[in-house]
Symmetry: D2
């Protein structure tokens, strides 16, 4: 099989490093070009990067020369992954799109764009159906821009999608997060701020959850040109930073529109049997189970459950009745795998399977 040539933008940052780790052993993708800021451009990767992963820099990447993030330098990439910071992602990704390149972006800039899909790979791959319309809007032949979701939103919608499918609309969602420090990048959170502490605020995070959930769980119009956001669902998000390295824990309470609401056991059964499309079509990174149910009272725990399904599964436990809404549970998502770089990669695998990439 011809390998898919990939480029990585923002390759020296924490999301970029995760892209490199995940792609370096990928059977279908090869790392062809890496891009970073003009400060790093021209340098060897090993020299320009403060590497922070727990495995070494892959040998094939060490000596690669970093390019500037300009479309002309990535023209021969079949797919470009963007781990760019939001302050530069807007301009660069648009330049790449207009140059008819294929971009899978982890940045927030175009998530709310009406012709850009916001796809959590184990949840709403049907939103790829807007791509023909997107290409027509931008007069593209093969290019496209696909975003994936905020890390906390990702975990949430994986849990809610099968419930919505099985039990109908969800009227109310209260989600409270306990988020890992790796979500803030590097150097990110100062140790003096988070040791022996909780920070009850993450800038912009609650707004992202409250919006993105509605787009991801919403539908594409029948003309495949417009997203219908959920309009009768109320989402209230409360975000906290806790002293955990990787893995976002989320306490979720929900109320269904249809009453009587399902029992905790019915909820568990539906979550446990959820099989996403990416699994069915055999995507390499798709986890055997999108959702893993833990029956011990004290699970999921970030340190013990974040690597479930190689970081692509969401782990759910403590499903029980809520005295205020209908039901509550706790979920865990690996914020830098499924919650970031992994979503981009699995999205690209889905696009490849669906024939959306010209290789």
């Amino acid at each position: 099989m011809t390998k898919v040539k990939t480029g990585i933008l923002g390759a020296t940052g924490t999301v970029g490093q995760r892209f490199i780790v995940l792609l370096s052993s990928h059977p279908q993708f090869i790392i062809h070009s890496i891009g970073a800021s003009s400060r790093s451009a021209g340098k060897k990767y090993v020299e320009a990067t403060k590497w922070k992963m727990t495995s070494d820099i892959p040998e094939q990447v060490k000596e690669m020369v970093i390019k500037e993030c300009k479309a002309e330098f990535f023209n021969d990439c079949d797919v470009v992954f963007s781990g760019l910071d939001s302050d530069v992602a807007g301009e660069i990704e648009m330049e790449f799109l207009k140059a008819d390149l294929v971009i899978f972006s982890n940045a927030k800039n175009y998530r709310r764009d009406p012709v850009v899909p916001l796809i959590v790979p184990t949840v709403n791959p049907s939103h790829f159906n807007i791509i023909p319309h997107q290409r027509s809007v931008y007069s593209l032949k093969k290019g496209m821009l696909v975003t994936n979701s905020n890390c906390s939103t990702t975990g949430l919608v994986v849990a809610l999608k099968p419930l919505q499918d099985a039990f109908g609309p969800i009227e109310s969602i209260i989600v409270q997060t306990m988020q890992a420090i790796s979500g803030a990048g590097y150097p990110g959170v100062s140790s003096l701020d988070i040791f022996d502490n909780v920070i009850p605020f993450i800038s912009g995070e609650e707004e992202k959850i409250e919006y993105e959930t509605l787009k991801i769980l919403g539908e594409l119009n029948s003309n495949q040109k417009e997203f219908k956001l959920l309009s009768s669902t109320n989402v209230s998000a409360i975000c906290n930073r806790v002293p955990v390295i990787d893995g976002h824990t989320e306490c979720v309470s929900i109320k269904f529109k249809n009453q009587p609401s399902p029992s905790p056991q019915q909820i568990i059964d539906v979550l446990d049997s959820y099989a996403c499309e990416a699994q069915k079509i055999g995507c390499y990174s798709a986890p055997k189970k999108s959702i893993i149910i833990r029956y011990d009272n004290d699970r999921p725990q970030p340190r013990l459950d974040r690597d479930n399904g190689n970081g692509y599964s969401v782990t759910i436990g403590r499903v029980r009745k809520c005295n205020v809404l209908d039901v509550k549970f706790t979920l865990l998502v690996h914020n830098t795998v499924l919650g970031a770089a992994g979503s981009s990669i699995l999205n690209a695998e889905i696009a490849l399977s669906k024939g959306l990439l010209e290789i």
Copy 2:
């Protein structure tokens, strides 16, 4: 002024150690007797105790000989504070009560007893009014048993009391906690369980919050003999252990019965101006402000705010609208001061002020 002679039960444990620290510099109380298990009884305190406070064992306590927790050994104490574990507190405290002693207990055993008040000192000191009835039930002359609340409940009701007073009944409460390790005592939580981790479960904790809130915020019948628990308030509690040493953080969402609900600013104004009875009657340990409002987005934080008001204040921030219920905010309570030993002591100060103690 004659000093009040106090006894401390469970003096070698973590709550007992906190009692000793707080009482050792108290202007009205002196430590007269200390009790612990028969394993420690007969030994000097300094020898029997694995001391874990950050200040040294007070000099006057080091050489005190530990007694068994039997009423006969505490007969000459005006007040007995109990930091006993719940597996022994039930029997011992009842023996003390029947011996006509005055017990302020941090244990959970009698919190649900119909003639035992459950008092958070800055919230519901009016519940002391059941004491005459309690004495009559047990045929006591001067003895009484007063409990204080679970640590997380304590923080919650301090915030809710002024709101209920100002805006009427609260219909729904969803509270999610991030609790410190010191709440589990010593050795308590294994470091292997909580490093780089969150434990999404604390045994019995959610049930305590869901019950105790209703008793504390409820009323004593006009005959002063019976507690009327709140009957139209739904409480849903979600409890987590996080890697923090001291200070429980709680994310609270509430809905009022009366609509339209107050604005965030009205809520802030009421919280900020709350003055509890213990302050008004000049109790030594009563904080200048029961509630401290923080206006920075990223506060309260346990490491920075737990010692506010010497650990007797509750700090509240992030008051804002909730998309599902009416309003949400984050609060912080020092779990081993106001949330445990401090409540017992301040309750005793109130009882003293009210003339309920025979000194």
Copy 3:
């Protein structure tokens, strides 16, 4: 190839759990029997165990029934690994040995025994040569008892062995450790003791390092019946517990007997080129490099380097002159892999290669 049937004693503890993880995917060994205390015996493993590894209990082990640690129940095991606590290991291991079983033990009890070898697999496999003598002393046909070293000692001797070989006797060693909490087992270190803290003492640890180093780096007499401990080497160990989950860091200063002493660069060259016998004879678990040199100033670091060589490599950095002794450096060893269960397993692989096991 016929698989080697293995038994695991102390299978529910932290060392036992590590044995299970490492053996469950081993190409030569299969887990045949598991033993634990009589409290657990008769139960299924999954029910008796508070599992603390970050991967799940291997499927084949979950339903295995735990046996009592008696030789009669492990008679059909080719090799028995012991992760027993020292308070019971002495008696049980001796019973197994006398029953002519093969035991590789992580316990400290027989490390100082004059006919029991103390083997760090990447350092002194030549000490297996005492086995014929051991068998003769105990009248064994195929049984034997082999111990591996204390976790901190293990890291130290891996660094010192090639230096001793290349530059002659080491006169003085000062080693100061910063040890991970996992070294204390479960529940082990209370979070209240080690959060935001260092504990400058680990019971018995300094004595172990000061003794075991001399036995491991010493020789077996030419008659292969007696260990000659190093007699002219002074070892001073200083042990601390730090808030790290896995991986012991050790700061080492040494002085050679032969002067002038080698330069830091000569030291680095010798360490970097060290190839241990286990690598040469192709043992499965032997790391590609026993010693990995890091050239960055700020390495090795436990979180980033502990998994080097799957936990079987020792990582060394900061090799430089010492103003008091000759040279100093910092090393890192994975305390529960090479420093514990992994040593036992690699020792068994060596014994298998050397034809010491009857399979």
Copy 4:
């Protein structure tokens, strides 16, 4: 008593914040002027500062307007404390000195200057005797520049000074440190670097310890014009960063020139009875005991011992024989009190007592 008007340079940084906390309740000193970078100058302190102390900003400081760090704005200060970063301290402090101001500096820039004393207040206040010579060199009437030591060196020399006085010259010192994150300022150490980790390197720290120890424990020539550094003492320092908020732990091994060396008990006796000059002359911040001996095996510990003597005491434990040098022990120093701002303040108190300040 007329209060001493003080200025604080670098007032918004972590050392500056500690100066403010310590000075705000000082009986002799008042905070008169505060200085910071031109970016902050002109703003109110409360608005320009990311306050990180666990107590609130003192009321009297909140509204103070920050000045630029120019001598003309601090002319009316009797004493100026400098918590400046080393990249700007050199120029600014020299400008202040030449303007005849009195500066007590925590910065490293002039510690090696031949006419600037490097004073740990509980160790070598006799080095103030160079001030007349310094004034003559710079043609000053009342100004002077006094530095205090690196935080780790501070703890070390407090322990060594009484030993040197009692037992004669120390020939060799090996010190290995485990340093708190607060020593790196704010934001300082990234949480991703230090969670579940040790960093075995702190830039420039080992060199500081190896030099400053020799100057502090050395003597001023009889002409009071020149420092004689210890010339026959070898110091080897090994510095590590550990996940601790405040308090540097140091493992020290030493060898005396005079043999036989003192016994551990003799060492303990000398350390325990050490009374520094600052205590004798009644300086306000001088601790009752400069050195506190802990007899428990597992002490000192940073979380439990750092606040001993309000952070001005050094706590020492585990005094015992060393197999390589003569004796070893573990010490703890509060790195931001005695190890930084506190030293500057206590030095100023000593200068005041000695009549070196014109008030």
